[in-house]
């Protein structure tokens, strides 16, 4: 029925292979168009799949496994090259290919000056393919393959400017963090295979509720291990440190990784495995807690950063926190909805930021920007749209999705006031930091007299406008998304009405904006006292809570210190002396018996035979 659906995967793969083989034989323009075309066509195929899916009855939309090829059939272990078509995966396809396509188009212009243009597009196509594979996988095996490939592609892309040391280091960091997650995933997959005898989603999910009670140890273990992977990929505490560093890659990469695809994989994974997670409420609480915590935590860090991309990166973490909170409290479709709206406005923000950076010839420090609203009117508008969506100004998409999550965090079965409070706090901070960036960048006067900002070309503006449009209007599709995803999660999430709480959320967001306006639009001098007072807090926040340093202090330093101690004291003064003495004594003895260590292979072999005789003697006669 969806036999052509594998085209969605095949096209970007084709693009990757083609561009990496013939990339240097074709012109830049051709490479760029080829890279875009594969993703664009993939998007079109997705649309066709979607239309076919919509033509079906809602309950028949589940579980279409398209087997391309029976790969391994070894005894009980079966592995098919198959993709899963259901509303969830198609939903993800739409986001990945749609937003990915826009980012590709944007990159055509953005990466124009780069000498390794075709390599860039090859990697981008690889990334899209890996992400699609991750999403389309019908079993845990291909999920892990996609998972690892996404990691690889992100490594390649973050370290794309390989002559930049920081980029390479960041890429390595991201890779290591991801691999930590992969290990968890692999162990989880092995446990699943051990318990269910299959890796297929269908088999596992149908067998799980019958096989395990709620909060069964095994189930908790599996879900926790899966969670490790999800946390690593979605940059949740404590595996979040790679994400801000990943901003070293080109801006379209940041947009692709942080908006549409990679970081959402964790959310997708939990949503996909909701059957398992529903069997392990403890894990759910953990997810919600970590999500809320990350949201607050990243929000605070985002408030003080000066790198435009870093701020947006922290906001990504923060918004991912929302999504985790959502899936943690069991409102999966809200999580997915927020994932979608976030994909639009975050891609929009990143691309606008990229446009700013492009216009300022690579400048990323917001302190050196300012007054760009005149120089770059279009970018100004698109950024503003992204900012109000992110800040949750009413009637924008961010408002609908965020509000739904925060409402549920209070009202839903697993919600409570703490989650709600953290959500509201984060909402306020969100408004603050994004408008801080906005004011810094677009308002006021230019702080850098040498900068000559210019508006980005049309080909970059197109995707921005499209994204801005969707970011504004997609909020109204909330009901439809619920309807569409409902069958996957068993039941559509309930929409809670509580005008008081809603008002608080809105006010929090608007308040954040207002404070930002007051702080950054007024004269500096009046705030000097506040700065003085908040300096320690500011330092902590600016240094990202010293997390890297804490890791350094807690793990690296002690190990080094212990090592140094052992090296200096214990080894040199204590052991060495003993060893020297022992050694010189032993040398005398060993020289006597060194004929055993003759260096001749045949002697060793003879020893082996003697041993064999002895062992056989033992086995046979005793």
């Amino acid at each position: 029925m969806f036999s052509y659906a594998w085209l969605i995967l095949a096209l970007p793969l084709l693009g990757f292979i083609g561009l990496s083989w013939f990339g240097n034989k074709i012109s830049k323009k051709q490479a760029g168009y080829a890279g875009c075309a594969t993703v664009g066509l993939s998007f079109l195929v997705t649309l066709v799949v979607l239309s076919e899916l919509l033509a079906l009855e809602p309950e028949k939309r589940l579980g279409h496994v398209e087997t391309l090829y029976q790969w391994v059939s070894s005894g009980s272990f079966k592995l098919d090259l198959a993709i899963l078509i259901d509303p969830l995966s198609v939903f993800m396809f739409l986001i990945v290919t749609g937003v990915g396509f826009l980012i590709h188009v944007y990159s055509i212009e953005y990466m124009k000056g780069d000498p390794e243009y075709s390599r860039f597009f090859a990697y981008m196509n690889l990334f899209i393919f890996s992400m699609l594979l991750l999403v389309a996988a019908a079993d845990f095996f291909f999920l892990i393959v996609g998972w690892a490939l996404v990691g690889l592609a992100s490594y390649l892309l973050i370290g794309f400017w390989k002559e930049k040391t920081s980029a390479v280091l960041a890429a390595r960091k991201a890779f290591v963090m991801n691999v930590i997650g992969d290990v968890g995933m692999v162990i989880a997959a092995l446990m699943i295979f051990q318990n269910f005898g299959s890796l297929s989603y269908m088999d596992v999910f149908s067998a799980a509720p019958d096989q395990f009670r709620s909060n069964d140890d095994t189930m908790v273990m599996i879900t926790l291990l899966l969670l490790v992977g999800a946390f690593a990929k979605s940059a949740q505490i404590p595996l979040h440190t790679w994400l801000p560093d990943a901003m070293e890659g080109p801006t379209p990469v940041s947009a692709l990784i942080h908006a549409a695809t990679m970081v959402t994989a964790g959310v997708y994974l939990i949503a996909r495995c909701h059957v398992l997670y529903e069997l392990a409420p403890i894990t759910m609480y953990l997810i919600a807690g970590v999500g809320a915590l990350t949201a607050v935590f990243a929000g605070t860090m985002g408030m003080v950063q000066y790198d435009i991309k870093r701020v947006i990166a922290y906001s990504t973490m923060s918004q991912l926190g929302y999504m985790f909170l959502a899936v943690g409290i069991g409102v999966f479709s809200f999580g997915m909805f927020h994932l979608m709206t976030h994909a639009f406005f975050k891609a929009l923000l990143f691309l606008s930021a990229g446009s700013v950076i492009h216009g300022l010839n690579g400048e990323q420090d917001i302190r050196k920007m300012g007054g760009l609203r005149f120089a770059m009117p279009l970018t100004h508008i698109t950024f503003l749209v992204g900012a109000i969506c992110l800040a949750g100004v009413p009637l924008t998409s961010g408002f609908f999705s965020k509000e739904a999550i925060i409402m549920s965090s209070f009202h839903a079965e697993m919600g409570n006031i703490v989650f709600w409070a953290m959500g509201v706090l984060t909402a306020g901070m969100t408004g603050f930091y994004i408008f801080r960036v906005y004011f810094y960048t677009f308002m006021g006067k230019s702080r850098n007299p040498e900068a000559h900002p210019h508006e980005s070309p049309k080909i970059m503006a197109g995707p921005l406008l499209i994204l801005a449009f969707f970011a504004l209007v997609m909020g109204f599709s909330a009901h439809w998304v619920d309807q569409f995803l409902g069958p996957v999660f068993g039941v559509a999430a309930h929409h809670y009405e509580d005008s008081m709480l809603e008002a608080i959320v809105v006010l929090a967001g608007l308040g954040g904006i207002l404070i930002a306006g007051i702080v950054y639009m007024t004269s500096k001098d009046k705030l000097e006292f506040a700065k003085q007072a908040l300096a320690p807090v500011y330092d902590v926040l600016f240094n990202k809570y010293y997390i890297d340093e804490i890791y350094d202090f807690l793990i690296v330093k002690p190990v080094r210190a212990i090592g140094a101690f052992f090296e200096q004291k214990v080894e040199k003064e204590g052991i060495d002396y003993v060893v020297d003495q022992v050694g010189s004594q032993v040398r005398g003895i060993s020289q006597g018996i060194s004929f055993l260590q003759s260096g001749k292979i045949r002697t060793y072999a003879l020893n082996m035979v003697v041993g064999m005789v002895a062992i056989l003697l033992f086995v046979v006669f005793l």
């Binding site: 060194s594 260590q597 003759s598 260096g599 001749k600 292979i601 045949r602 072999a605 003879l606 035979v609």
Partner: protein, 99 residues
């Protein structure tokens, strides 16, 4: 032929291979002796695969065949490299490992 015959032939060839490995000084012939030993095991496996009427033995033999091919190729390459650097093929003269 009963399984005793298979066992005896296999055991004798295995022992002959062992002796060859122990008494010869030419690494090529030592490698050949190892082949003999591997072959004897193969023979045992296939003989028993026929006697027990399963194919597991044949599969094992096939894997051993692969391993043996890899081993020989690498072994010969090592011998060739040693000969190129030392111009000598007597294993007793190669005692870098001497303690």
């Amino acid at each position: 032929m009963g399984n005793q015959f298979v066992l005896i032939i296999s055991a004798s060839i295995f022992c002959i291979g062992t002796v060859g490995f122990l008494i010869r000084r030419n690494p090529l012939i030592m490698l050949m002796s190892v082949e003999l030993m591997l072959n004897s095991v193969n023979f045992l496996l296939i003989g028993y695969s026929s006697i027990l009427q399963t194919l597991d033995g044949q599969i094992f033999a096939l894997i051993i065949l692969t391993v043996a091919a890899a081993e020989v190729v690498v072994g010969l390459a090592i011998i060739l490299t040693i000969f190129r650097t030392r111009h000598d093929l007597n294993v007793d003269h190669i005692n870098v490992l001497k303690g």
